[in-house]
Chain length 536, copies 2
């Protein structure tokens, strides 16, 4: 690609000069409405490929602004760094400086990662970045080497898993400021803990999404489960591609985040000669060179196609790793006996054996649930390109009652699950609280304000659960109690011995090079299932 990469949003210099850049290729006039005198908007100038800019003196952090499009619509900045009044309010100029004290940090290879997925709002009572910092000692004791934050981009209302974000460049205000996030990253690095961030590049949330007023960010060409797909390959897609690439670079560069977990990349449709994932990866590799730090790209991806994580020289997109949900499904099916929903495709221990050997369970077989032959062998990939888990926010939170394994299995069952995960050749990921058998549920919660949307959301949840035949009322995602119930209890002794076992297993894994540096051809050669016992 010969695309021009253009930074967007406000760029504030030390001398108070600030350049605002916004992409609006089909607008005929764009103005900046800055501070408290909206009667005097600044005319912006249209440059190449539809980027409008204006440079203004004496700008200070905290000044609020809007853009005015074609003298009509007043809109917040799609690349806003802060939305002090939430998704429907103005944007705010921020101070991006920070005194980093993690100079020795070089990033982390996937093979060394033991990931810990957490949701900022429910991880601690405080429900913010400072809360996470207060728990870093606990995480260090546990031994995990990387935390993975659920999306932190500004979403509507106060609580949400994060997948309804509509300002990908702004930190959700209830979680803290940019400075708080940098403090967290800095503190984590000082403890030898990497930080991975979950980002959503396949859709934007349904409320407070004003992007379409600026440019053709969306397309009707592809239909997504959750609405309009992002325009990665149609007319004017360059600016859309730049938007998300700039977003990735902002987290990885300015915030010194160590890697991104890209939400549901199977929802990203791109028929371009260079797929946006390949283009993003190329830009991140350049950043790695500039920053002299390893940066990791992980795809959440459910199509069992190794192309996303294969080397570019072999026709792949070059990403580092992908989630392997099928490891979870095989293990969950085997230990709980559940057979509804997508679990109908799993059950016998042989499925788990397949995942331990091939990462994917389905490499071309007929899937009852998908009603088609599915997947292919993950050629040209290594085990440590697959993130495995026995629980995660989706697998817990998308259950009717958000119930964790700890409420389904005996302590011994939980220990078997833990050991299976930690001794698997894949890169392990724990879901917050799993390490001590948290009993509180992790439910699906939102705080939208759009009534129509709320109605549809409730109906949608009901339909989604219908295939599972779970019994009971569908909890109302809008009920704030649901959010409060989903907070961790921090009863570390909940399941006697479990926390100690996780500590032991993590330490065991870290000490054994062989366990986290598997090449596919010299590992797990001999795997047998006999009398319901799996040996390898």
């Amino acid at each position: 690609m010969h695309t021009t990469y253009i930074p967007i949003g406000p760029s504030l210099a030390k001398n108070g000069q600030c350049t605002f850049t916004v992409w609006a290729p089909v607008c005929n006039a764009v103005q900046l409405v800055l501070g408290s005198s909206p009667t005097l908007p600044w005319q912006m100038e249209k440059g190449e490929e539809g980027y409008w800019t204006v440079t203004i003196d004496k700008v200070t952090p905290g000044m609020q602004y809007w853009y005015k499009l074609d003298n009509e619509l007043q809109r917040a900045d799609p690349a806003a760094r802060y939305q002090p009044q939430g998704v429907h309010g103005p944007s705010e100029v921020t101070d991006t400086s920070f005194n980093w004290t993690d100079d020795d940090w070089q990033g982390m290879e996937l093979a060394e990662m033991v990931l810990y997925e957490l949701h900022t709002g429910t991880f601690t009572a405080a429900g913010n970045f400072q809360g996470i910092i207060s728990k870093l000692d606990h995480l260090q004791t546990l031994g995990i080497t990387a935390i993975e934050l659920l999306p932190i981009a500004q979403f509507p209302g106060h609580h949400n898993w994060g997948y309804d974000g509509v300002f990908p460049f702004a930190i959700h205000k209830d979680y803290g400021t940019a400075n708080d996030l940098k403090q967290l990253v800095n503190a984590a690095h000082q403890r030898g803990i990497a930080v991975i961030l979950d980002v959503v590049y396949n859709h934007l949330g349904p409320e407070g999404n004003y992007l379409q007023d600026f440019a053709p960010y969306f397309t009707e060409k592809y239909k997504l489960f959750w609405g309009g797909a992002i325009n990665f390959d149609g007319q004017w897609c360059d600016g859309v591609r730049n938007y998300f690439i700039q977003n990735a670079l902002m987290w990885l560069d300015e915030f010194q985040i160590d890697g991104l977990r890209l939400d549901a990349v199977h929802g990203i449709f791109d028929s371009s000669a260079t797929h946006i994932m390949e283009e993003l990866t190329a830009q991140v590799r350049l950043l790695e060179q500039r920053a002299q730090r390893r940066k990791i790209l992980i795809a959440e991806f459910d199509l069992n196609n190794p192309r996303y994580i294969s080397p570019v020289a072999q026709g792949g997109y070059g990403m580092d790793a992908q989630w392997v949900d099928e490891f979870h499904h095989a293990l969950h099916g085997a230990i709980t006996g559940e057979q509804t929903g997508y679990y109908e495709d799993f059950g016998p221990l042989e499925d788990l054996a397949r995942s331990l050997q091939h990462s994917y369970v389905y490499t071309g077989q007929f899937s009852k649930h998908r009603k088609r032959h599915f997947g292919r062998e993950p050629v040209n990939t290594g085990y440590n390109q697959f993130i495995a888990f026995v629980q995660n926010h989706d697998q817990v939170g998308n259950r009717l009652l958000g119930d964790r394994l700890s409420t389904m299995l005996s302590p011994e069952g939980l220990k078997v699950a833990a050991a299976t995960l930690m001794l698997s050749p894949h890169v392990p990921l724990l879901f917050m609280g799993e390490e001590y058998g948290e009993k509180n549920p992790f439910l699906y919660f939102t705080s939208h304000s759009d009534e129509e949307l709320i109605k549809n959301l409730r109906e949608g949840r009901r339909k989604e659960f219908a295939v599972f035949n779970w019994e009971g009322e569908v909890p109302d995602p809008q009920d704030e109690a649901i959010f409060r119930q989903s907070k961790l209890s921090w009863q570390i002794d909940e399941v006697p011995g479990l926390f100690r076992l996780y500590k032991y297993l993590i330490a065991f894994r870290k000490e054994r090079q062989a366990l986290y540096n598997f090449r596919r051809d010299d590992a797990v050669r001999n795997i047998r299932v006999q009398n319901k016992v799996l040996r390898f």
Copy 2:
């Protein structure tokens, strides 16, 4: 893929026993209504993956049949070999035997091909396969080595380019029988001429398309310019994939066709781990081995992405070649000066130079017409994987008046165009009549019967032409005169010396190995444009 490949349609044995197979995975009952006693339908049995079969004795060629779905809908066979009353009538059992006399034929490599694209209905006064056979002497004199037939699958009405076909396995009845087509292929092979067939796997025509009554052949997930996309990756897609793969194998195996030109593969959306083009190619490679004959797969493809024709080992789909419209656009722009529609992206001779060197003109630059950066370098491909032309059915027929270059250029201009094509490193394709400067237009013609469709079609044509700013009334595609005007005149001396020049250039090309066996790195090293002269 572990897909099961299942032959479909009627399979008539010499002893009169006939097995009918039809794919209808979501039907609960399928019956065969055979011959003239529709009161006695045959119950079919549902096998694996939704294939219904029944075997019946004493079946003879010429017997007509329908399928009855869920005791309600009476429908022709989606895999019918013959539709004696057209797209709305019953199917007919055919005799598939033929006495081939081309045993020495081994197929043909792309590098040896000089292609000649023709439309069966307008190529001769007869407008059928026998007409083509009567012109094989002319084609042999000209020296071309392969004919490429526009689609011949059964379409509604009597005349149509062929892209509105709705029975991909049935030969359009006005063109002749299966036996006639086999006679043509046999006669061509005996003259050393290969036969390529244009097939449409990205959509079905809008009239007489009953496929959705049998199975989920279509999807709402992707939106095509011309309607519903084919379901290559959703639930039940295995049967859809099998349907088109069986179709390709039928032409290449039973009809001994040498290769397929796949219409607009950019309209085929497939997020499967194994793209349908890769799967099709693999099946065709197996056929090559069985038949001991070279079989060629050519994609019409406008996304400047070499993945379709790159080797599978390098992450490609392994197809043999693709059309390179940009060679045409660059040449057409340079010699006619046209600048409207997609020609706005072309003009200077440098564009033609780029295509001569890189095959694609756009390998990442910004395209004004597409409003985005577009394409990438065709790495891992050779020149003879690109089919170039100065005219084709689309480039002539999608002009307002269907006017050929012969009505726009002087005889000298036509000769320059001919020489540029025949001396280009790409595989050349001529459009019927081009060799002698045919003056008759090739217009867009249809003979639909659905009034609503006809109205939309007329409006659509008008809109399509709007961007070109061409002057004049849009001819009515439904007017039979349009079809008749589009027939070749066969005035071989139309442009003095042109036919002789084409003969000379073809012979010149065939005699010079270097001209048709180019590797990208040792050809066209030195190309310069100076004072409107291009040298290489």
